[in-house]
């Protein structure tokens, strides 16, 4: 296990220079260049806004489907992914070595269906040493938004070493939502995610399918930022563990791309996969976005907003109505930015839409006013729809403070190192299954924002200490990441709906991944904290299969640029 002291030493080493790759060699080298604060690319290698072609991540097909015990009511799908290095063409004229799922960035999209459980065979085929850190290249995979058992939830200390494999099991019984999977290895999550270990996992159900655009008109947008060295490698500078702010905005791995759109209603699943930067999205026309879903599923009432604030790991699904634009019209998706970010010349731009002639079969042609997510998932066990929770239902009220002390980011004074020292027994809370609690999340850390992620559960925001006490218009749906802006406090209700046979320990942490790594992470348990031990219940094993045992197969994609 990498100790806290080792990581701090690694951090000190990192402060001397940028870790880069020498050719195609898997052995990282440390250059003597000083820490960079923006890209060092030559002009001919510097991407410019709206020169790139939009693309969607490829959709992975399962290598096996079937029914548990032959029961048609219990379908499953099995997927296989290998984490490995790859070469990406991100900036003009240079290759960037990435660490990705199946060696691509973003990783392959897995489209899951509610009621069909999935297994993802996750092999660590990475080299022994990290791409952006000099420690062992261990990985942990978290399916963000899933009520997975603790041993499949990506517990930060449940790592898979190079050459090993872990079979993650996902239940998929929750309401439809945009999930995503990403690395969660303790102390180096930021470097691992930044180097490419991210992918979409949208889960659909009949309610969502009946009410929102599908197929061609259902578009994942993974927004991130990066900086590059002169040779095209990722540059990494976390500003003394405060955050990384790149000068190049990527959408699905392409700098400021252009997407051709028809005069239709499109649904965009916007995920901020930056490790620190937050965004405020706005259209150049000033026309509205229609918020139809938040992190954990559809909103009850569709909200029209001209802009919205989105921090790392948050997901917002928005509709954009392109029907009124003329063919050839250009509409830009911009970033107005928020407090506590470092901005550069072009970080106010995200991507461009170019309207093209209409074609193809009909698609959804009305903006819904309200949406029905199907209601409670486990009503017979006491499950309550998240957006129907009320303060009167709460069995307990708790306060969770994020701040900075002793040069560490802490939660109620606790770091993940404290949790480790306790033998992983230290808990922030210990509700019973299906208990409902009211938590007030308080950011008094000063001039930083903290997108706080509570694993396992969906929450309903019921109050803020700003905005006249109400949630913002865009956050009136179920959430699992709560944006705590500078000096902000947010009160949420949540039900600890674990699903059948569950319980155990789950993490709470800041999703500014640099903060998470240093060391703003705590945990809670549902029911008996000793069950479903995240490190021992189903540990990774040595992978004895050959690297080509599970060749990836993808669904046919849409044409480039659409």
């Amino acid at each position: 296990m990498t100790t806290r002291r080792e990581v701090l030493q690694l951090g000190a080493a990192g402060a001397l220079g940028i870790i880069g790759m020498k050719g195609g060699d898997d052995t990282p080298t440390t250059s003597a260049t000083p820490l960079q604060t923006s890209s060092l690319l030559a002009p001919r290698n510097s991407p410019v806004p709206y020169a790139g072609v939009f693309r969607r991540p490829p959709e992975l097909l399962p290598y096996e489907t079937g029914f548990d015990d032959g029961d048609p009511a219990r379908p499953y799908e099995r997927y296989a992914i290998t984490q490995k290095l790859g070469q990406a063409q991100i900036v003009p004229g240079l290759s960037t070595t990435i660490a990705g799922y199946n060696g691509i960035f973003p990783g392959p999209t897995i489209r899951a269906r509610r009621g069909t459980r999935t297994e993802v065979r996750m092999r660590n085929g990475l080299p022994q040493v990290g791409l952006l850190h000099p420690g062992e290249f261990r990985t942990v995979t978290h399916l963000h938004g899933s009520a997975s058992l603790p041993q499949y939830d990506g517990y930060a200390s449940d790592f898979t070493a190079p050459g090993n494999v872990k079979n993650y099991r996902y239940p998929n019984w929750q309401t439809a939502r945009t999930l995503w999977y990403h690395d969660h290895n303790q102390h180096v999550t930021a470097q691992n995610v930044y180097s490419g270990l991210v992918g979409f996992y949208p889960m659909s159900d009949r309610f969502e399918q009946a009410q929102l655009p599908q197929g061609e008109y259902d578009v994942p947008l993974m927004v991130s930022d990066a900086m590059f060295t002169a040779t095209g490698s990722f540059g990494y500078n976390d500003n003394d563990h405060k955050g990384l702010f790149g000068d190049i905005i990527l959408v699905n791995g392409v700098p400021w791309p252009v997407m051709k759109v028809k005069p239709r209603i499109y649904r965009f699943r916007v995920l901020v996969a930056s490790i620190s930067r937050s965004y405020r999205f706005r259209l150049s026309t000033g026309d509205p976005f229609y918020i139809v879903a938040t992190d954990a599923g559809m909103v009850p009432v569709v909200q029209a907003v001209q802009s919205w604030r989105q921090g790392t790991a948050e997901r917002y699904e928005v509709l954009i109505d392109f029907r009124k634009y003329r063919t050839g019209q250009l509409i830009d998706l911009r970033n107005l930015s928020n407090k506590n970010n470092d901005d550069f010349a072009n970080t106010n731009k995200v991507m461009r839409f170019e309207v093209v002639a209409d074609s193809g079969p009909a698609s959804l042609n009305t903006i819904p006013a309200t949406l029905d997510d199907g209601g409670a998932v486990n009503p017979s066990s006491g499950g309550v729809p998240t957006m129907s929770l009320t303060p009167a239902m709460a069995k307990a009220k708790r306060q969770l403070r994020v701040h900075r002390t002793g040069s560490e980011w802490v939660i109620n004074g606790v770091t993940w190192a404290d949790v480790e020292r306790s033998g992983y027994s230290k808990l922030f809370a210990n509700p019973q299954p299906y208990d409902i609690e009211e938590w007030t999340l308080i950011n008094d850390s000063g001039g930083w924002n903290h997108p706080l992620h509570v694993h396992l559960v969906d929450t309903k925001i019921i109050g803020r200490n700003t905005n006249r006490g109400k949630p913002f218009a865009w956050e009136t749906g179920p959430k699992d990441v709560i944006y705590l802006g500078e000096n902000e406090s947010v009160t949420v209700l949540t039900q600890f709906d674990t699903g059948p046979g569950a319980g155990g320990r789950y993490m709470i942490h800041c999703h500014n991944l640099v903060h998470e790594d240093h060391d703003m992470m705590a945990q809670f348990a549902v029911g008996d904290w000793r069950v479903n031990d995240p490190k021992t219940a189903d540990p990774p094993v040595l992978d004895t299969t050959s690297l080509d045992s599970f060749p990836p197969a993808y669904r046919p994609g849409y044409p480039a640029g659409t």
Partner: protein, 265 residues
């Protein structure tokens, strides 16, 4: 009964046991000889709104004021609501009205070391001596500080601004600004007043960088269908004394102490 109070100074936490009456310890602005070594790592980007360093501030003069604040880090079992009420009661007896204020008015090292859970500001003209009297009053009352607390009392700089824009429909503009939430992100809490063909937005709180003020002006101008320069920025009040930021020492630098019995301006 003696009360355990820890008094925080910029570079060291000092634990003291004493009766408060007449001898409440206070922190003088800028009394640290030099910033703590790790304070450099706390401040974020120089002049920006990221981190707890002092932002680049050109909107100064009467737009920047000194206020005395009391920052409290209570023991784990303290009832903050009750404590806040006791502070108000004590302040009322001195004819002072307290207001909540955001933690980022404090210097980086104070925030780091104290991690206060309650921060209140005295009204303009309130002195550190007044703050001491308030604390004396509640410490002698019914166990407000039972179990020990950490306190910081000091003078801070705040922005005291008014943004204003001409508009035919101030009510609609107010609603639009609220819904977009840009000002909430930038300012936290603010007060809007609809006047005839004008909307005013008043803000008192931590110093805002020039860039942030520009983005606030843009955030007001956009829904008002105006240009950012058409959003005026002015002091909320022409009375009292302002601060020339060019003359202001950087946080942690030595300055002459503010006398306890003088207004902190």
């Amino acid at each position: 009964m003696p009360v355990l109070i820890s008094v925080l100074r910029p570079v060291a936490v000092v634990l003291l046991v004493f009766g408060l009456s007449g001898c409440t310890a206070v922190d003088q602005p800028g009394s640290a000889a030099s910033p703590a070594a790790d304070a450099v790592a706390l401040t974020g980007v120089e002049g920006s709104d990221r981190g707890n360093g002092r932002p680049q501030v050109s909107f100064d003069g009467l737009m920047v004021r000194r206020r005395v604040v009391v920052a409290i880090s209570p023991n784990a079992t303290a009832d903050l609501v009750a404590l806040r009420g006791q502070l108000d009661q004590a302040a009322d007896s001195l004819r002072l009205r307290l207001s909540d204020i955001a933690p980022t008015v404090l210097d980086a090292e104070v925030l780091e070391q104290l991690a206060p859970e309650l921060i209140i500001a005295l009204p303009e003209g309130g002195t550190v001596s007044d703050a001491g009297k308030i604390l004396d009053l509640i410490s002698s009352s019914d166990g407000a500080f039972r179990g020990g607390v950490q306190l910081h009392v000091g003078s801070v700089l705040v922005h005291d601004l008014r943004f204003a824009v001409l508009t035919r429909d101030p009510g609609a503009l107010q609603e639009s600004i609220d819904r977009e939430g840009i000002l909430s992100d930038a300012l936290g809490n603010y007060r809007m007043t609809a006047r005839t063909n004008e909307l005013r937005i008043d803000y008192t709180g931590p110093l805002l960088s020039d860039d942030l003020i520009q983005s606030v002006r843009a955030g007001i101008a956009r829904p008002a269908d105006a240009e950012p320069d058409e959003v005026s920025v002015s002091p909320r009040s022409a009375a009292g004394l302002g601060v020339d930021m060019k003359m202001e020492p950087a946080p942690g630098e030595q300055t002459a102490p503010t006398p306890h019995n003088q207004p902190a301006h």
